[in-house]
Symmetry: C2
């Protein structure tokens, strides 16, 4: 039968993205990769997992296996109150909803707010997973300038002046793909701008706990609470396979988000939420987070040092104090796709930065490097090999 005729209009925007194809290359034998984007399995608190599962079985018994509230498992939300307070976000159990990963929140906000042609304002470059959440709702994207200090506030204001924007989407801290962090000064400016224009900001914060140096910077949510949906996740500080995301939104929006989520998956796994509740209640996050940072920090430092030592001086790396990625920009007009193909031949993989832009002409000379998955020696080897390939191009 003709299956193609059954597809909804929205599938037009959902074609397989090129980055998937790129990541397939990574698994080829002998390939050295800094292309990935996931946490190291060494970051999972395996030493206490059994204690947690036993605790959940004793404490919650059948409740951990029954249908539960769409809003989220109450003992987890109780624990998240404290976690959020440490980030400066003061709310209560009713103010926090759980989702199936941050991805579930991104799908939910777009499903709730975006009709075909509605506008979403994005940093350029932006997080690809957000695009795959938003695309099915057929938005139009308005790209905004960013630099090493994050989103340029003037670009945001210009965008809000010229367009009717449903929401702004930002990853202000240790952004994927750039590792950049929006400065405190700019956060304050941005908070004033969104209040001035009655604009809604979706502030996605998966990485802020992974800080390797410097001081925490408060979320924009703390500066303009009525104008921000703050999203975070336990994927980077507990375990991504459990799919636990959460968010704090204005009440009107979170009530609607619950209705949206009911249609999508009824609720997030009760058992996994109970595990997360025990992880937080036992203060295991506080104990374990330093281990994760001890794991990643030397990797980031190794990568930064290798870039500085090896790469030509016209390849610059955006400063980054945490997260999982570094962002390298080559000389103007340098074709990172050509380098990518050379690197694949040379058995090293990275992700060309152009894929993180909604405008195809942008980001030609950029690349994203991940340092969480490889060990320091492999990272050095990868940067060495990439540099070798760069040299074959300039010769």
């Amino acid at each position: 039968m003709d299956y193609e005729g059954l597809l909804a209009d929205r599938t037009e925007l959902m074609k397989t993205n090129a980055i998937r194809e790129i990541l397939k290359v990574v698994s080829k034998p002998g390939m050295v990769s800094v292309a990935g984007g996931i946490p190291s399995e060494k970051s999972f608190p395996m030493e206490i997992i059994k204690e947690l599962t036993d605790k959940v079985l004793t404490k919650y018994a059948t409740n951990a296996f029954q249908y539960d509230l769409t809003e989220g498992f109450i003992p987890l939300r109780e624990q998240l109150v404290g976690l959020l307070a440490k980030r400066g976000i003061i709310t209560d159990v009713d103010g926090i909803n759980v989702a199936s990963g941050s991805q579930g929140v991104l799908d939910g906000v777009a499903k709730l707010m975006v009709s075909k042609g509605d506008k979403i304002a994005l940093e350029a470059p932006t997080y690809l997973g957000a695009l795959s959440a938003f695309n099915p709702y057929e938005p139009e994207y308005i790209r905004m300038d960013m630099d090493d200090q994050g989103l340029v506030p003037e670009s945001l204001e210009e965008t809000l002046k010229s367009h009717n924007i449903k929401f702004i989407y930002l990853v202000p801290t240790f952004q994927n793909p750039t590792g950049r962090t929006l400065t405190l000064e700019r956060r304050i400016q941005i908070a004033r701008i969104i209040e001035k224009y009655n604009a809604l900001l979706v502030e996605d914060d998966p990485y802020s706990a992974l800080r390797y140096r410097g001081e925490d910077i408060p979320p924009i949510k703390t500066m303009a609470p009525d104008n921000v949906i703050y999203i975070s996740t336990l994927s980077k500080v507990f375990a991504p396979g459990l799919r636990i995301g959460f968010y704090v939104a204005p009440k009107f929006i979170s009530q609607w988000m619950v209705l949206v989520k009911q249609g999508v998956d009824l609720h997030t796994s009760t058992f996994n939420q109970a595990l997360a509740a025990e992880y937080l209640e036992g203060n295991h996050l506080d104990t374990h987070l330093p281990n994760i940072i001890r794991l990643y920090k030397p990797k980031q430092e190794a990568m930064l040092a290798a870039i500085k030592k090896n790469m030509p001086t016209d390849f610059t790396c955006s400063p980054s104090d945490g997260g999982m990625f570094l962002w390298v920009t080559g000389p103007k007009g340098f074709d990172m796709m050509e380098l990518y193909y050379k690197c694949i031949e040379n058995k090293v993989a990275f992700v060309p930065g152009k894929f993180f832009y909604t405008d195809e002409a942008e980001g030609i000379e950029t690349m994203r490097l991940n340092y969480t998955m490889a060990d320091e020696k492999t990272i050095e080897m990868a940067i060495g090999k990439i540099t070798d390939s760069i040299k074959t191009m300039s010769s």
Copy 2:
């Protein structure tokens, strides 16, 4: 700020449904309820859960906590091959995809196929969770006749002749809300009709394992494999809180469904899929299913007997050999909403059947009764109280 102006057009169809309000009443003190729709916690295999979690931690270790394939955890899909073969559905690992509950599949099929105004054909009455999955995609519903033998094939053929239908949605076995099962003869007829009209059927099968008497009837999927997306779940035979659904679809559709799911939640909890894999691999389902049937069968029998003994003879119950629900139809024109309010005063709750129809004028004289949540004595008391309330209406 004006949040209401941010809502997408699709929210128009997503207003809070009345059944939620009805179910809130259930939790009031002293209320006797047959209004619920969830499995008994006594049906969960708690005696082996600890063994399963320990096994998963030993066998899969960090893999159970890492990001995984959107298609589903391979060891679980390997086990589902055998489970599906027992139902007559012959496929391989690549033919089976996992989702976050059946609900995740229902959201996915509608998201993939339904543009605003596209038509979905439904049994009248139909499963409410399907409507909450479909509504956000703004379909038009075409209702089809059903009787105690399930969907009337002539009504399906008439629908396919007169309308351009994106897909047909059916719960052929022990339907929610009616407990009815589509006969083998009609399944064969329906398979021929959908092939003749090149129509796609979404066959939702959450309950078929919960059979209390009679012989299994093969899914329509076995009779028209290219025209059917077969959906099932472990929610009724393992634990609903783990949110493990799965489906077998034509390749073209399942490939697209993977792209859809990537945007929604990346993948279903790896840990829970690993638990489900071990539940099946250890043959625990085969051992435990008879316990679930031993739990529910006497409840169903108690309810059937109480209806027969107590209710006026013009209140008829649809025959049902399994599942979780019974469906009672009162005399023509009998107002089940009026009865509902009387029953609430009398401290007993059920769900008026009209909520399961897309056409507001239908189902006025029907009611859904759930027997999985209460014990036999409570079930008898509930039917007695409902009958008392009926008697106050006819007097």
